[in-house]
């Protein structure tokens, strides 16, 4: 069962902030975030493990609320290079732990 992402799309001006949300109906072991640019393979951003940790990568950070089975990706002071489609991938806390992805959030940063 794939996670649900919101919003589906967002348009920003350079320097603005954005939040992308990812939620699951299953107990999660980990959440993975990837960014895919048009015509390219998805590229890894970060992994969060259950425990509610928060991670940062330059001006991109994420949190994981294991009680709510939700993760959020925070993009601050967005740059043109942030444009792309963001996917969250989740692995459940039980069972085979296959990595399943949400439908993606298309982010466009304009000058």
């Amino acid at each position: 069962q794939q996670p649900v992402q919101s919003p589906q799309a967002v348009i920003l001006r350079e320097g603005e902030d954005a939040v992308i949300n990812c939620s699951s109906s299953k107990a999660l072991y980990s959440v993975h975030w990837y960014r895919q640019k048009h015509g390219e393979a998805p590229v890894f951003l970060m992994i969060l493990l259950k425990g509610g940790e928060q991670k940062g990568h330059d001006k991109i950070s994420a949190s994981f609320n294991e009680k709510k089975q939700q993760s959020s990706l925070y993009l601050t002071a967005s740059q043109l290079s942030y444009s792309g489609t963001y996917f969250c991938g989740t692995a459940s806390d039980t069972g085979r732990r296959a990595l399943t992805f949400g439908s993606g959030t298309r982010l466009q940063v304009q000058p």
């Binding site: 072991y29 993975h32 393979a41 998805p42 991938g89 085979r96 296959a98 990595l99 399943t100 992805f101």
Partner: protein
């Protein structure tokens, strides 16, 4: 190899023909995934191999789809009697350890067009 390699990069086939898509994961990676991505859509999970365990085939859309992984390395995704709705980019990813605290590396994908 340095990364996940997929071949062919593009494949055009006639409806009803069988196709085989190949994935060479990063050497030593125990986990291998296949995903399908239709134009402008998300990553649809197809199948997951982990070491010597039985694969998780729960994402395969029909019995026309099958995959195998030989020697814990190279994987082949086979689509029999292709249909036009099978047209998509098929992505392979591999990951290093059995836990889920490491990143998955994606190949560039095979763009399949069924005419």
């Amino acid at each position: 190899g340095a990364g996940v390699s997929q071949s062919p990069s593009n494949k055009v086939t006639e409806k009803g023909k069988d196709v085989e898509l190949r994935c060479d994961p990063i050497s030593g990676h125990t986990a291998l995934y296949w995903y399908r991505q239709s134009l402008g859509q998300g990553l649809e999970f197809l199948i997951y191999f982990q070491g010597n365990s039985a694969p998780d085939k729960s994402g395969l859309p029909s019995d026309r789809f099958s995959a195998e992984r030989t020697g814990g390395s190279v994987s082949t995704l086979t689509i029999q009697r292709t249909q036009q709705e099978d047209s998509a980019v098929y992505l392979c990813a591999s990951r290093g350890v059995s836990g889920l605290n490491t990143e998955a590396f994606f190949g560039q994908g095979t763009r399949l067009t069924v005419v």
